[in-house]
């Protein structure tokens, strides 16, 4: 197995670059501002570099390689044409502070994408300034807070978050200076309306909901909930991480949501990049558009223009432009004829997996699910969900999301997107049946898994107990490795 860090390839005086000869004189740097610390960076050749990172890449697993049913993350296919278009020089080599006249193309992409997302969700306008879902949440909550403040309503200091919510929801609320109030779920995984009612008073700024929620269940009482909150003077925030389940089929604004984010890196097919860059586009209803963070993009008199209408700013410029371009490409490729099939096939696939596995895996909620299905571990209980996940590695799959949501102790959350064929799903289902059988017949195969990966099970307790976080740390502790 290739096992090198780039620092370990280094040899004095090697180079992997060439720069033009400078034609101007050398100016001296003030002495008191000059670095004295040694600078230990790799010195390698260009081929060393290419081989090193190619070899590192081979230790990864991507969507192009195989099934990646990581629940809540919507690991769909990332179309290649989108990459080609997003890397056009006249999108890339553009300074963010050029004149409006010289960036009309990019502004058009932003504007059109906002309009198309507005049509799909029922919102009025979207901003692309937030960089990811969590950043979108924070932005949306700021809008919520500012809305109440601008009306002189200063008491609204709390946000309600369901116990099934993603960790970013309560974390974003806290960051935004709200107190988090947790509302419990019914046994079927939806928000308990009676419990919700008991929490409502004039200190509630709003609620954050994910619909379908993180259990993949559509919130059946969403209309009642939105009426309750609006009557209470509160707003509703929609965490759009699960929008793939209803894309082109239903609109969050019609459910009563006022503010939402969309993870373009999930629903709109832009690649996850090993954990970003993404985009947490935030949309709001008409009444809130002037609170969208600065700058916004408007279309007036045949020209795209920047405008600032809000006291909020959330990023240095306008977010991750190439992600917006790719989302635009994706929507145009689908077109209105195909877009609702995204949700339909994603939901069909999830229900197919659900019905196919319920004999071996505990299914706490048996209703129709949406784009993902959550099991609560093996019925046999001969091995844990972690063991099942690690065994899946041996069979060449990226495991589902595990131990989230927190409502079930052995959560195994499978999200097969609309791009996956019946053949792929059948093979995966067979594999999970086989693993369930192994758990009964020879549980050690699971407990010791994975067997066929380049590394065996990794000691994460050690990592936290003796943090080695840089190459320097490693050199200082080399004797332990």
């Amino acid at each position: 197995m290739y096992d090198k860090l780039v620092y370990e390839l280094s040899k004095n005086t090697k180079v992997a670059y060439s720069l033009p000869k400078s034609l101007i004189k050398d100016y001296a740097l003030p002495k008191e501002l000059t670095r004295e610390l040694p600078l230990d960076l790799p010195e390698i050749s260009e081929l060393d570099c290419v081989r090193h990172y190619t070899n590192l890449s081979l230790k990864n697993f991507g969507v192009d390689q195989g099934f990646y049913p990581l629940g809540s993350c919507t690991m769909k296919y990332n179309p290649k044409i989108n990459e080609e278009i997003a890397s056009l020089a006249s999108f890339k080599n553009i300074h963010p502070l050029q004149s409006e006249e010289s960036v009309q193309g990019l502004m058009q992409i932003y504007y059109e994408t906002s309009q198309m997302l507005a049509s799909l969700t029922g919102m009025s306008e979207f901003t692309f300034n937030p960089f990811a879902g969590a950043h979108g949440e924070l932005t949306g909550l700021m809008i919520m807070k500012q809305y109440h403040l601008s009306r002189g309503d200063l008491k609204r200091t709390k946000v309600i978050v369901p116990d099934s919510a993603h960790g970013t929801n309560p974390a974003s609320s806290a960051l935004c200076g709200f107190e988090v109030v947790t509302v419990e779920s019914n046994p079927d995984g939806t928000v308990d309306v009676n419990k919700l009612k008991s929490l409502l008073d004039d200190t509630i700024a709003g609620i954050m909901m994910t619909n379908p929620n993180t259990l993949g269940i559509f919130e059946k009482d969403v209309l009642e909930i939105s009426k309750l909150l609006h009557d209470n003077g509160s707003l509703l925030y929609y965490d759009g991480a699960n929008l793939n389940a209803i894309l082109g089929v239903a609109k969050p604004a019609l459910m009563g949501f006022d503010i939402m984010h969309i993870n373009l890196h999930k629903t709109f097919s832009t690649p996850h990049g090993g954990g970003g860059p993404g985009s947490g586009a935030v949309g709001v209803v008409e009444e809130l558009v002037d609170l969208l963070p600065n700058p916004r993009i408007a279309y007036e008199d045949g020209k795209y223009k920047f405008k600032s209408t809000s006291p909020l700013r959330v990023s240095n410029f306008y977010g991750n432009s190439n992600v917006v371009i790719k989302a635009w490409c994706y929507i145009l490729t689908l077109g209105k004829e195909n877009i609702s099939n995204v949700a339909k096939y994603a939901v069909l696939n999830a229900n197919y997996v659900k019905e196919s596995l319920k004999d071996d895996y505990k299914l706490p909620i048996t209703n129709i699910c949406k784009h993902e299905v959550v099991f609560d571990g093996l019925i046999s209980e001969k091995a844990s969900t972690l063991d099942v996940a690690k065994r899946l590695l041996d069979y060449g799959y990226h495991p589902p999301t595990i131990y989230f949501p927190l409502l079930f102790h052995q959560a195994l959350m499978i999200e097969p997107t609309e791009n996956e064929s019946k053949e792929t799903l059948d093979e995966f289902i067979n594999c999970l049946h086989k693993i369930a059988k192994e758990a009964i017949e020879d549980p050690n195969i699971l407990l010791d898994a994975p067997h066929s990966t380049i590394l065996k099970r990794i000691d994460d307790v050690r990592a936290a107990r003796f943090p080695i976080l840089t190459y320097k740390d490693y050199l200082a502790n080399k004797d332990q490795f």
């Binding site: 860090l5 033009p20 034609l23 101007i24 740097l29 670095r35 004295e36 610390l37 960076l41 010195e43 290419v50 890449s57 230790k59 990864n60 697993f61 192009d64 390689q65 990459e83 278009i85 890397s87 056009l88 999108f91 890339k92 300074h95 963010p96 050029q98 010289s102 009309q104 309009q115 960089f131 990811a132 950043h135 700021m142 960790g167 309560p170 960051l175 969403v222 209309l223 209803i246 239903a250 996850h272 990049g273 954990g275 860059p277 600065n294 700013r313 959330v314 410029f317 977010g319 689908l334 019905e355 196919s356 996940a389 019946k422 590394l455 000691d459 050690r462 990592a463 936290a464 840089t470």
Partner: protein, 436 residues
Amino acid sequence: MFKYFPHTLEDEKEMLKKVNLKELDDLFSDVDPSVKIKDPNELNLPLSHSEIELRRKAKKIANKNKELICFAGGGSYDCYTPSVINTLTSRQEFLTSYTPYQAEISQGTLAYIFEYQSLICELTGMDVSNASNYDGATAAMETMLMCINQTRKNNIIIANDFSPSVKDVVKTLANMHGINLIEADINNIDEYLNNDLAGLLLANPNYYGEIKDYTSLISKVHTSSKALVSMYVDPSTLSLLKTPREMGADIACGEAQTLGIPMSFGGPYLGFISTLSKYVRKLPGRIVGMTKDKEGKRAFVLTLQAREQHIRREKANSNICSNQSLMALHATIYASLLGKQGLKEVAKTAYNNMRYLTEKLEETKKFKLLNKNPFFKEALFETSFDVSKFLSYMESKDILAGIKVDDNKILVCATEMRTLEEMNEYVKLVEAYDVR
């Protein structure tokens, strides 16, 4: 059939049968009809584009953007992107994977994040770094929270010479979070140096490109308060410049776009945060650590996660989940290619270019340097003419001449990408510029 949907009619039928439903729409019987889209034809979307049509349309739109010879900075810099980088970051194993939750099949991502953390620490002189933040502005904002969390005090000073948009991002969160943010001239902060101070945020270089030695100021802050000092820096300058660590800062953060990342209309960029070992548990976001697998082989894994939202929820240091991982890879490959020598050469070229351009601009008498301190690759000038008109004039010559700061003030930047010829052309156009 459509290229992204693989089911044949036969498949669809069989699958519906398995789930005991008649048609696809039955999958949404739990969704109230009033919230549904009745007919997708009503959607304000174009019809499906083939690849050929999409490419044609996109090129037409892209051509409405104008690539200019860039003399603007202000947080986004025209820098050298070696060709190798794109080839490597486009590899599907990096591009189409996600956060490395399953370490056994994510050693590629985990290893480059470890290298990235090492790189950021090497440049800033700090001990520990996280796996990336969204951009410089949000990184600065997060360091404000680190100061608050560490000291449990609520006053933060932000230097008034930060970039206005970075300042606005920090201010926005401070307002929302209830932090008492004081914007101050850094020479006049004595009155705030007391027990209530949580942190001081410095920009070095500042918005005008000026670089300063903050050693004595930082030591004064440390002796007169419990506050942490966070310094916002440009990592592309740190191969030459005195590091935040050498000046005594507790946190170094900033924008790493300058490590070879294209300007891309302002993003994707790369925010970074590094700090001293003792504050590692205050860092936001992902951190990768080295450990071993069951057989004792060296391995990498996400670590110290008890700081993060998926474990701590509302008590987490930050809400960040997805970050800018691929851009961290980009910067890491950049630094590996350029290495110790190359980074210094690039930085020195930018420094020399800006010094040269400044001399020549001052000679025209139409530009007056306003910077009172040494500066790195950009500087603020007073002009004898209206800046807006000048910028339009220069744009008509395919040059982005700078950033308007005021009617008669312009921020001009020359990175390593500017040639002698381009700089001379700029100066010639200024000389010829008719002050109307």
